[in-house]
Each structure stands twice: as C-alpha cells, then as structure tokens.
Amino acid sequence: MVTTNAIHESLVKIVGKSYVSASREEKYFYARDGGLMPPHEPDFVVLPRTTEEVQEIVRLANREKIPIVPAGAGLALTGLVIPQKGGIVVDMKRMDRVLEVNEKARYVIVEGGTTQGALKSYLQKHHPHLRHSIPDAPPSATVVANAVIHGQGRLAHQHGFNSDMVSGLEVVLPTGEVCRIGSCSVSSYWFSKGPPLPDLSGLFLGWFGTTGIITKLGLKLYPCKKLRDVMVLLTDKVELVPDILLRLSHTEMVEDTVISAQPLPLRFRGTFWIMTYITGDSDEELEFKRKMVWDAVWDYFQSRDVGFISTSPEGKAPLLSMPSKDTTRFADVAKGGGFQYAGPITPIEKFPAFIRKLEEVAAKYNVFYGSTTRLIGSGHCMMFSFSFSFNRANPDEMARAKRALDECSKFALEEGAVLWKPDVDEQKMIMEKMDPNTLELMRKIKRLLDPNGIMNPGNWEMR
C-alpha cells in the first residue's frame, strides 16, 4: 500500500504543485454540493489541464485502487460529485477550451470542463448564426457533465436531450487508455457519436463518470435565427396542460416550451404559465409562427380556458435570457441558499397528477416549492421538476425538504417516470425496479470497463 504522501507526490508530478490540494479547505468544499446529500470528503482535489494528465491520474488511481470522481461545477445538486468513498476529485474546469467549430457540419468540440457560459459566449462572438441547446443551469455548469447526465436545454422541444446532440467523445477509460467514440474514431470529423457505427457513446452518457472521464466532446450546433420571442400562455386548468403541450408540439414551430408553476406571489397560485419560444429570421417568419401557436389553442382561448399574457420587452427580457437567472433565484426564496429538485422524465400526460403531488407534499412537509417543467422532443416526454427551496441554516427545514424530495421521486417512479440525475439512493430505487437482465448487462459493462471499481464508486453500484 502506497502512502498518502507518495500519492500526493505522484499527483504533484502529474499536474504541478499549484493544482493538487489535500488541504482541509478544499476537502471541505469538494465534499458537498448545493443540494441535500450528506457530504463526504475526498483525499485529494486535482485540476488537470490536458488529456495526458487525466490519463496519468487515472492510471495512478487504477494502480493504487483509489476512487476517482470527475467533477464539473457540482450543479447537478444530487451529490453526483460527492466522493462517496473518498479518493481523488478531478475538477475538470481547467480543461476549458473550445477546440473547434465546424460551421458546415455544424458541430463544436469542447474540452472536458468547458462551461456552458464559455461556449455560449464563444459562439455568439465567432459564429453568431449557430447555437447550442443551453440549459438553465448557471453558466458555470460544464457542457460535458450536462451531456453525461442527459440534460435538456433551450432546444429540447425541437431536438431532445442534450446527450442526443453529442457528436463524438474522447474518453479516458478507467484503465487509462484514451478512446475515441463515434465518427471521430475513424475520421477527423466529429459529426456523429455513433451512426453508422455501433453507438458506443451509451457506455459513457448517463453513467455519471463511473465508466470513464470524458476529455473532449463534440456537440451538434443548430441555426441561430436573428429574432427570438416568447409567447406566454396562461391557464388555471391543470388537466388541459398535456393537450396544450401536444398542440403546441404539433405546430413544429416551437423550439422550447417551459411550464412554470409557483405558489408565490399569491396571484400566481393555481395558474400554469406556458412559455412558448419561437424564432425567425424575419418579422414575417416570426409572425407566421405566432399565428400558428395562436391557432393551435384558439378554441381554448375562446372558451376562456387559456389566456395570452401580453408582456413588455422589459418583462420578456428575463424570460428570453439564456440561461435564466430567475431559475437560480429560486434558491433564495427561503432566504437560505438551498435548492434541490427531483426531475423525473415522464410522459406529459402525467402533468396534472405530478402537480397535485407537488402541492400535497409541499403542504405535508411545509416547504417552499415551485416547478419548471420542460418539454423534451415532440411531446415524447417532459422533465417535471419537483423543486424545493430551503434554508441551509435550518437543519429541520433541510430534513423536511429531503423527505419531500424522496416522496416525490418514489411517487414519480411508481407512476412510470424515470428519475433524472438520481442521487445514490434514487439510483438504488431505479435498479430495484429495473429489468434484471438490463441490470445484469449494466453490471457486465461496468465490470469490463472498470475492473477495479475506481470510477465514482457508490454511483450505479450494482450488487
């Protein structure tokens, strides 16, 4: 057994003294995220700069059988970067470059820790007619981690999960080899993560860093039209929401649809705000799309079941901003810096039942709640958020928020949803419900890729 000091020295040799820490302060911070999962300290935090450095760190960890956890900004909030078994946290955010944009094949290649903010800014500046599907997570969230957890962004309605938009990967396997996935494994182009080859990206996306560390990622880009607008539809009839969503989706004119429900301020209680985003290269195009949206719900409008809210440009600005700062502001509703949400992926027909559950659970546990639901694909599913804000200085409130979350997740799973970015307890719930043969396949894959079980242990741990 090699001593802690020797490992420290080896890490220093790999990344340099300035980028390794075993200090109390870094251990404290990287032991937790902004959510509700209990902390657990790493032994080291390292900040690599290159794929080669990542490779060496992984080789060291594999040789010495030390747990290793790749981390972005820790904003998944479900403890996915909490080193459940200690070891090395690899903060990827020094690998922060945008490496290449292929304008004609519409993809970008970023490093393993490039932030959403940096990518957005880079595209706006250098390729203003291209965009990516920006999630509403704070801009410090990383592009890779968002794909790893199957995130969804501002183009989700049109193009699905952000992981669907991946167009290639470079991965350091748990045994240290660097491996390319997708078209980039046979070509210099990163246009496809799989087709027409066997799609191996599934060995890494959704695995929470338990099967390798992604050091480069290709991401599909989409046209960025000159004009963008949001139409705000309002209804107090929860049972109509799924049909409204289907009708909006039928127009094939909407790129993002978000449904917001919140009890405060009181005038918002009991109403559902459906934010419908459209874009165009001309006023005519935009006007046409507005008309299509309008027509889609016209009869509901006439029966006064749906209203349109006319909003001033100033009022629209926060809705149009990407990412939405308002989503993050929810963390201060309880004036205590705490926010976590369960975000089951579910058929849209479940919206009324989930809203009712959210209200019931919030009342039962006396916690602040809200919900920002996002349509994914052409009505194929949605991410329904059971969001709770809590005060970190109030342990009792935190415990209640956790119980509320657990109850919502359990309910969602029973209702046929699949939990998104599940914490370690929720992962267990999913695996218990999973087809045993599927579970066995996952187990085999994990054992094959990570024979020593060093990668983000505790997550997707199949007994």
């Binding site: 302060e25 404290y28 911070f29 800014s121 410090s140 810096g337 005060n391």
Partner: protein, 385 residues
Amino acid sequence: MMQQKYVSQIHRCFRCGYCKFPTDYSSFNCPPYQRFRFETYSTGGRLWLIYAWLKGEIEWSEHLAEILYTCTTCRNCAEQCPMKFAPDIIDWIVGARSDMVEKGRIPPRVARFFEAVQGYSNPFKLLRDDRASWANGTKLYSPGDEFLLYIGCLGSYDENGQKMAKSLVSVLKAAEVPFGIMGKDEECCGNEVYMLGEMGLFQNIAERNIQKFKKLGVRKIVTLCPHGYHAMKNNYPKAGGFEVYHYTELLAELTKAKKLKFSSNRIKVTYQDPCFLGRHNNIYDEPRQVLQYIPGIELVEMERNRKDAFCCGGGSGNFVMDLLAGDENSPARIRVREAYATGADILAVACPGCMTMLTDAVKTENLETKLTVHDISQILARSLS
C-alpha cells in the same frame, strides 16, 4: 453591525458561480478564482468556507485566511450574483476578515500591512517625512483654495504613483485650478485597512483625517487614487462635511469647459476601469470622456470593460502584499495581454494601484517595447499644447 449581518446572512450563497463571470460569460472575472482555479478561491467557495468556519466545521488555518485575503474586493461578484443579497457580498467578506483581525488570526503579510500603516501611515514603512518628496514645491493647501488634492500612499511613495501625482499637478496648474496638497501632513486614507478588516485602525485614520480636513477648512477633496475616493466618499463618517471627487471627474469638467488646450497626437489607447472607481462608484464615462476629448486619440476597448472590467489584482492591499502574484494567470499579467490584444499603444489607468500592478506585468510579459502604461493625467499632460 457589519459582523452581525454577515453572520446571519452568509449561508444564503447557493454556490451557483454566476459571480465568477463577466456579463457575457466569456471568461472568469473573479481574480483569485482565475489565478488559483480551486472552487475555494471563487466567491461561493469563500462564502461557504466562512460559513463553515462560523459553524465550527473547519478550524482557522493560514490557508483559510489566505483564501479570504486573496479576494481583491473588486466587486465583480456583487455585480453578477443574481440574488437579492448581492450588494452585501463585499460586506460579508470584509466582516469575516474583521472577525479574523479581532481574533488575531491573519496571514503574516496582512499583519505587516497593518503594522506599517499604524506605525508609518503608509503600507511601505517609509518615512512620514518623505511623504511629499515627490512634490517639488507644490503649493500646500490654504484656505481659499477650491480643492485639496489628496495624493494617497501610492502617489506619495511609489515611483509610478509619483509620476502620476506630478503630472496631475502640472495639468491642474495648466488649467489654473486653485488647489493645494497636504504635504507631509497627509496620512493614509485607510481604504485598504478597511477592506482588510482592521476596523479600529480604519476608524482612527478616518477620524484623524477628518479632523485635519476640518482644521484646514477643506470643502472639496480631489483624490489621485480611487481607493481614497471610495473610503472618503462611502466609508468615512458622514460628519466630514466635504465633497469628494476623483481626479478624472475634475479633468472631465475641465476638458468640457475647454480649460485646457491640446495638440494632436495620433495614438491608440485602451482604458483599465479601476474597481473602486467603476464597479464601486459607477464612474465609467468621465475617464473615457477625457481621453476622447484629446485630439488624435483613438480609444479602443478591451473585451472586458466597464462593469465587466477584469481587476488588476491589486485591491485589498494586494498592490503591496500581492497574494495573487507568481504565475502567468496572475490577474495583472492576464490584463496586460488583453490590453495588448486590442492593438493599443497605451494602456490608460486612473489608479496608482493599477499603474504599479500593470507596469510590473508589462515587464514580466516582455511587452515593454509594445505597450506603455500611463495614467490619464500623463496622457493629458503630454498632449497639452
């Protein structure tokens, strides 16, 4: 008061990281985070560690104190944080520092800073008698002068700061502004002492300065340094009864009133917004107006400018202690690379702190033949016909 507030509020930080960025998210704008890259050096990291220290979850350590003191109080976080408490963040950090000061648990470099100011009324431990050695017969303030020109420690003792002071004096003379200086009687403004959390010492300094100003009958003060400007304007007891201006405000007035005549001088200039002038006091236009008034000057902006300007790394006493030095990611080095990328011949500054930090960085980056750091009064003085 401040301490009470930070204790009861600091847990509200969600560690979301908006505060690391400028408005367009193009790069990292919190100087210590950009320099060290561990999350602990970001605003959120700092606030979470302070909270952990308050709760007794971590002990004081020199590393903790250093993390706290690498914050330059540049105020980028207060500008970018989306939460309602954003304007209070600097007070929280300063509040935690003042707790550390009270407990005597501060990094040695910070302790030396306080000792120097306490004993010598400047952070360099240079003689009080030498405070006006740069002044070369500049008139002392006397009743009837419209302005007291307050020079500050860097302008009085630092080689580059002295150049600024001399050139400002020459410009004010050329514009026939009735002003005088305090000479050897001038003392430290206390801004850095405040930001570093030595509230007792700050109180003494502020009271002593106010008494001196009162005794001299001063009604209007114009400062060379944005740090002094900030302290006197916002943190001195309101009883002072004087108005405070930064010299770029005065120069903007003078150029607008056509009190100065210029010859044309074709030159490309970019401008560094000092944090204590820009983000802390919302003065962005006046320095630019002065530059644009000079014929032949082409003002080009760095990518990060105005409220998104990247701090030189010198705030909170770091122009002396330089806790962020020693690396190509030191803020001043990054900033001069950015200035050079604009194609400018001159990097204009309006703060002696920026002046010294950026001048050193230009040398370290081997840009001496390509980029010169001048303050706005120097640029003005060279263009006077």
